[in-house]
Amino acid sequence: MCLGIPGEIVEIKAGRDDLAIVDVVGVRRAINIGLLGPDQVGIGDWVLVHVGFAMSKIDEAEAAATLEMLNGLGQAYTDELQALAESDIT
């Protein structure tokens, strides 16, 4: 729950500027970007996702380091990714 998972924004939903599709290690899921504000993020940006919400914008290097660290967590990360994969907030 506390794990922030890096995702790359690949789409911002038309007509819902608080909703974006992110790619997290190949899994595409909708997340809410309302906490970052409009014009703060765009396609290609990396964000740290907590429980379905983008909480902060990060750069690609930070995203890579975080993903690597999460990988090392083993089960906790797998569970979180599984939960994210099953999430559907649209």
Binding site: M1, C2, V51, S87
Partner: protein, 375 residues
């Protein structure tokens, strides 16, 4: 991954370790608390303490949100889950947390409709899809998760969804740090500030720790080198006679935090006069409740909440572990009666709990140290 080396470089770690050792005053013992469970995890996994001189020790703080939930609140939530028509929703971490009468998983086995969700927005979706049921979200966590709960309530209000409510157990980190500073049990020299909570609240709210308590705090990232550098920054402040709040994790944590997130929390939630923390007891102004304007989304007002109070099991010493007074392995039941599979205390439940982190990784470090001492 080429980026990662930057934060993992063993040579850099050794260089930092040497600088850390050079800053230590001979004969002085230093004790720093890492507030965040994520840091605890990194420390054990990477054996950070092996890089520190013996005079520097790290103690674990109360920053694991699952760990601080008192058993009575779990029982209250289970009572709500057993009400007719209710679907209780909760994060996966919450499912195995023991209450006085079992966990969510036990209640589910006993027939309660309890569903695991990744996001409060998933819970809202369940409410949308089940208009004849009452969907309750078991909200837990520090400022990392409270903005998400607040945003979800705002969304429910905007859509006019009236069968969704929140059983609010959100806690705030600052009163817990203050309670630890006021506790006579522990002498600390400084803090490694939490990373993700600080993304939301920023660095400014920690200033009272430096100003009123004379302890430095450095907001730290989660990589091994982040933690070593943060320890270095703390020692440097002490060596130079400074006492400030500094931000090591600037690549993620803005000094002022996330103002939109803070605004969302403030809109939907207000401070409770007091709240019970597992092991720490009642702490003033340490948790959030739903504001009166959002009473329609407040499970505590919509349902009969028994208000159960359960004393922690006698054998369990989570309280001492959460305050940093005991190391996990010093607890009487650690690794014997209490394991991640059958936790007695909450610190053993979440992967960020000090006991679970130590159980999973720490034993190797301790073994290594024992062997080293033997040689």
């Amino acid at each position: 991954m080429r980026f990662v080396d930057e934060y993992r470089d063993a040579d850099k770690a050794q260089a930092l370790a040497a600088q850390i050792a050079a800053l230590c005053e001979p004969g002085r013992q230093y004790k720093f608390m890492e507030v965040c469970g994520g840091h605890t995890h990194t420390i054990y996994k990477h054996g950070i303490e092996d890089y520190l001189p013996e005079s520097v020790s790290l103690v674990h703080g109360p920053g694991c949100p699952v760990c601080v939930i008192p058993m009575g609140r779990v029982d209250d939530a289970i009572a709500i889950a057993h009400e007719p028509g209710v679907i209780m929703t909760a994060f996966g971490d919450m499912m195995r947390v023991p209450g006085g009468n079992g966990s969510f998983l036990d209640a589910k086995a006993a027939g309660a409709d309890i569903r695991m969700v990744y996001s409060p927005l998933d819970a809202l979706k369940i409410a949308r899809a089940n208009p004849d049921r009452k969907v309750v979200f078991m909200a837990i966590g520090f400022e990392t998760t409270s903005p998400s709960t607040a945003m979800t309530v705002l969304r429910a209000a905007a859509e006019g969804i009236d069968n969704f409510s929140v059983f609010c157990n959100h806690v705030t980190i600052l009163p817990a740090i203050k309670a630890i500073l006021d506790s006579p049990d522990l002498r600390l020299d400084g803090f490694l500030g939490p990373g993700h909570v600080s993304t939301v609240i920023g660095c400014r709210p920690y200033e009272f720790i430096a100003r009123d308590y004379g302890k430095p705090l450095v907001c730290a990232g989660f990589e091994p080198l982040d933690l070593l550098q943060s320890v270095f920054m703390l020692l440097k402040q002490l060596a130079e006679g400074r006492c400030e709040v500094e931000n090591q994790y600037t690549r993620v944590v803005p000094w002022d935090g996330n103002l939109r997130a803070l605004a969302a929390i403030g809109e939907v939630m207000a401070l409770r006069p007091y709240f019970e923390w597992r092991g720490l007891g009642f702490i003033s102004h340490s948790a959030l409740r739903m504001r009166d304007e959002y009473a329609a989304y407040d499970a505590e007002r919509l349902f009969e909440v028994p208000g159960v109070r359960v004393a922690d099991p006698k054998a369990c010493q989570c309280g001492e572990v959460l305050k940093g007074v005991l190391k996990p392995w010093e607890c009487k039941v650690f690794g014997t009666a209490c394991t991640p599979e059958t936790p007695i205390g909450t610190c053993m439940v979440s992967s960020e709990g000090a006991c679970a982190a130590y159980y999973n990784f720490g034993r190797f470090t301790r073994q290594r140290l024992t062997e080293a001492t033997r040689i």
